[in-house]
Symmetry: C2
Subunit: 362 residues, 2 copies
Amino acid sequence: MSKIFNFCAGPAMLPTAVMEKAQAEFCNWQGLGVSVMEVSHRSPEYIAMAAEAEQDLRDLLAIPENYKVLFCHGGGRGQFAAVPLNLLGDKLEADYLLTGQWSKSAVVEAKKHARITETDIMTTTIDGKVTVKPTTEWPINAGAAYLHYCPNETIEGIEIFDLPETGVVPLVADMSSTILSRPIDVSKFGIIYAGAQKNIGPSGLSIVIVREDLIGYARKAIPSIFDYEVQAKADSMFNTPPTYAWYLAGLVFKWLKEQGGLVAVEKNNIAKAALLYNFIDGSNFYSNNVDNSVRSRMNIPFNLADDSLNDTFLSEAKAAGLLTLKGHKLVGGMRASIYNAMPIEGVQALVEFMNSFEKKHA
Amino acid sequence: MSKIFNFCAGPAMLPTAVMEKAQAEFCNWQGLGVSVMEVSHRSPEYIAMAAEAEQDLRDLLAIPENYKVLFCHGGGRGQFAAVPLNLLGDKLEADYLLTGQWSKSAVVEAKKHARITETDIMTTTIDGKVTVKPTTEWPINAGAAYLHYCPNETIEGIEIFDLPETGVVPLVADMSSTILSRPIDVSKFGIIYAGAQKNIGPSGLSIVIVREDLIGYARKAIPSIFDYEVQAKADSMFNTPPTYAWYLAGLVFKWLKEQGGLVAVEKNNIAKAALLYNFIDGSNFYSNNVDNSVRSRMNIPFNLADDSLNDTFLSEAKAAGLLTLKGHKLVGGMRASIYNAMPIEGVQALVEFMNSFEKKHA
């Protein structure tokens, strides 16, 4: 079998160097004779590692000092509930922008707690491509407790690169599938949250970056493990955190620094995405229906000209070591998720395979 | 350095055989060329593994068919919130029994949602030992939505082996630190829940065993990831579960079966606990203040006759490869947590060390 490249949308591949280091020290971490997953989260060794992981994340994203970083249980969907329960306070309404399945799922959860104004900001270009309205046309409602959006929709392959000006309304972003893929101006956000299982580490961990002045307004009914104030005071250790996931996230942050930080990572991500999009655009056999301006660099959905070839495509791809290319069931077709950990060689291998598949079957 | 034995209360040591297997297949699970933490939770391979883990747990605990088994995010403290949010329905009150720090912490969370009647069931024997009132004296309030208790308190070292008759009132148990250490009659319980990081796997996972007729009454404000109905319908995959922790739990379940199941495991746990308690009771230098009838087999706190020797004890123990014996800060002294994964050789090594320490310093 050739080298394996795993295009899973999440849980996604992790950097090979990270996995090899984790494997080597799996049963003997820091020479303690035990695994990092077997030590107390209150031990000096674990606390030092956890703090270093946070600092590395702060360095990577240039997180301002007036933001807390929390390492939480519950994944991204846990934060779908935690955000309204923390931010609504005595307000009754919040605004959600819709760009795909993930932003829609966040709305469902928020509606349990507030009156939600949903605004579909999707539109189509004159060429019939899917796009997103410019940020200047986004509705800003001063009465809303916050404005929520999802800058990268994994299923539709839509990514929003512009940042809106929301004034006093805190901007909340579900960055599960785009965090750490490029520099961002954290100071523009009230809250950034992300499930770990794309660009951070294994599933079961979520990271929350929250502006300090937004902490302290949680509704009474909030489970304490989701209360930003409780977890901020406890350095994310109000309860035992997902210690192994936190450790792996720390290894990923170190690896990102070794790559040259997010400027270098973005450059690589742009090159990877361009390679695949350019190939698709130059082909009459493959297609992607998203406008250039909002094409995701992380998740690239595409269709074959003949859907009846889908199964053949997937089985031949798997035989070539190219795994998990099936598109989400809601949209069908194919999808290549190419997060930070995917090397450009993986995208090259995919393009070569797609090219030869086209020649064989078109 | 001699062989390492890790007495951490949690995250605790995992079986050596499990850790070695996990390390060996860390980067290449089932020959897929990728880690189990890098595959989709929707993949056939992962779903098969997850189902097998559940079945193994069902076999080990003889879980009746009218109980659902859920693999959840959020740890034990997550369930402190999930239990009232799922079970209260339109009832307003629930009863909690107090036996130590963990049952008290559960009450704090439940009070956010219901009127809680707390009953301290601790008492002392004529010898001045700490004990628990017999189950026949526990208050059963037919108006309560449920009765909650914690059968093993890790900090105080108290374990309750008897089962109360609660009639129509569902009995809810936080079994985080005793689950899988002995057979239990699941049919006596409405809900059993457990954070994983003692006898199941790494932190970040909790397991919920819930009688089906109790599902479907969640309060509207519940985060969906904690809603038993939502997770039961989705086979615990409403959101991406903590996939790696689930996998490791599955390996632990297989290992428990290989040990001969819970009858054999209990026998071993009885022998391990007896070895340490008998040594302590035969010494004038060490003491444990819990009555025989409720002494924990999992967490054995003890004190030295001279507290000023505590630091010396801990440093000499560490040098001898006996880790994490410091007692919880709330009670001081020492604590040896000897969950399923601790081999009897570890307890023997501890007793030998304690014996020589006594001879040297008494």
